[in-house]
């Protein structure tokens, strides 16, 4: 009896310091299984996302939207679903999309978005009249400051080296004030904050943003005065997709990236919480045993 008691105790002790690889396996499964089953989690759209959606929805046909790809491959899993959703919406609204990047790494992601979303889903959208890829330019916030005054000074050619003066949709672009909306995607610096401070505020141009969950708290203070809306992390993306589905029924039933992301999120959060609870329960069991044991010893 006594023997069994001590053995049992070591088990509790052992479990408290379980091999962390067991936790790794659980987290891996929590992410992969929902993905393989294509499970999605719908998110109700909150006002900060809905106003953003409504702004684009309210733009007249042919409005000019500047999309700035200010992120890299490492944060793409979080940001790309937002980009896809907004590009789809702009294409439905027949807005003219001007794509550029403040980050060198944004260049490839712009091309990827065009190849994976715009070309297959909107074959009627023509390069040069409906959308343009201007590519990356150095200068960070300095670039924004120049664009506010003279757009073509920094973008004399597009990403593939074509003279912008020969591109129809660039004809009436003089500076940033010619755009009806600026959307920046990115979590770091330069990014949304710089667009607000150096373009949105001085030029009185509406700015919207999509950012990583980590940087969202730093940007919330700019809403609603300086930002028309903000998508924060996977949740923001899923909320935007929900708004898109509500407005465009053809997306109904489609499993969109942000919603898939949310399901994996929820499951892995539960796994982590389970382990925290589990660890604490073991800790309390052991502590109460230690206590009773030391009391026995004291007697």
């Amino acid at each position: 009896m006594g023997n069994g008691h001590t053995e049992h105790k070591t088990l509790v002790e052992r479990l408290q310091f379980i091999d962390r690889r067991i936790i790794f396996v659980f987290i891996g499964l929590a992410v992969v299984i929902p993905l393989l089953f294509g499970a999605v989690l719908k998110e109700e759209t909150t006002p900060i996302v809905q106003t953003f959606f409504d702004t684009i929805e309210g733009l007249p046909e042919g409005s000019r939207v500047l999309l700035s790809f200010d992120y890299g491959p490492t944060t793409a899993p979080e940001i790309q679903p937002m980009v896809d959703a907004i590009v789809r919406q702009c294409a439905h609204r027949k807005s003219k999309m001007y794509m550029m990047a403040l980050w060198a790494t944004g260049d490839n992601l712009t091309g990827e978005t065009i190849e994976k979303v715009l070309k297959p889903e909107f074959p009627d959208y023509k390069y040069g009249t409906d959308y343009i890829n201007l590519g990356y330019q150095t200068g960070n916030q300095g670039l924004i400051r120049v664009l506010l005054v003279d757009f073509k000074m920094m973008y004399a050619v597009d990403a593939s080296g074509t003279d912008v003066d020969s591109i129809p949709m660039m004809k009436n672009i003089r500076n940033l004030k010619n755009f009806d909306l600026i959307v920046s995607f990115g979590g770091g610096s330069p990014g949304i904050k710089e667009w607000v401070l150096y373009a949105g505020d001085p030029g009185k141009i509406p700015v919207g943003g999509g950012c990583t969950a980590v940087s969202a708290p730093l940007l919330y203070p700019y809403y609603p005065n300086q930002l028309i809306g903000l998508l924060g992390g996977a949740k923001g993306a899923a909320e935007y997709e929900n708004a898109l589905i509500n407005a465009y029924p053809e997306y109904k039933g489609r499993k969109m990236a942000g919603m898939k992301l949310m399901m994996s999120q929820a499951v892995s959060h539960v796994v982590i919480m389970f382990f925290i609870l589990f660890g604490n329960i073991l800790y309390f069991i052991q502590r109460s045993r230690d206590k009773s044991r030391s009391m026995e010893a004291g007697r």
Binding site: L35, L36, G38, E78, T212, A213, Q265
Partner: protein
Amino acid sequence: MNAGKLLSYIILAIVVIAFVVSIALKGFLVTVGAFLTLFIFSFLYKDNPYYKFAEHLFVGASAAYWMSMGFWKTMVPNLFGKLYPPMVAWAVPALKNNPAQPLMLIPLVLGILLLMRLSSKAGWISRWALAFIVGTTAGLNLVRYLRSDFIQQINNTVFSLYVTNASGFDLGATISNVIIFGGVICGLIYFFFSKEHKGAFGAGARTGIIVLMITFGASFGYTVMARISLLVGRMQFLFGDWLGMIR
């Protein structure tokens, strides 16, 4: 040949075969990306030759990547292209008509001074460049932090503790404001170095620690979401782009 060695050869054979099959089915580039991803993840189990391979490749490739970017995106346009444009016009014709800026001699000289440390005799002179860099940062940071973090954060904390809304006194918002106010003050008390944490001051410091702990716990919990997203991205690549198991 012992069992361990045999096993490692078997694994190597499997990896090579899988790699070849994958290239045949999915193409070279996706395969490379997928295997490098798996090599990195294998570190979670334990250190192994595959991780070592990925790690060493990553270190070498990334160092050269930033050197190349630094040369073509900074050195050529911002230094040579401004100092004496014809010098680089053969590589970047767009710079040809830039006006020459003799002031750019300053960074050129400082850069060369920095390289002097390669010489054992004149190595000390590289400190001049260093002194310039550190002096610049110190000057810029002093004013910037004073302005945007010190004064601005104090300004943000100056608000009314007693909050009213349309229906009169707003209890919730009032409590929140009092907590922010008290939390900032106690947090600052915690950071005092030259006063012993005793008596009322000690109680303040202790409250400060509690506020900081809430901050740390909350930030940690908040970041989990972003980190999971990254893993989802990788898994989508592995199971979707590579294995084609996600539709």
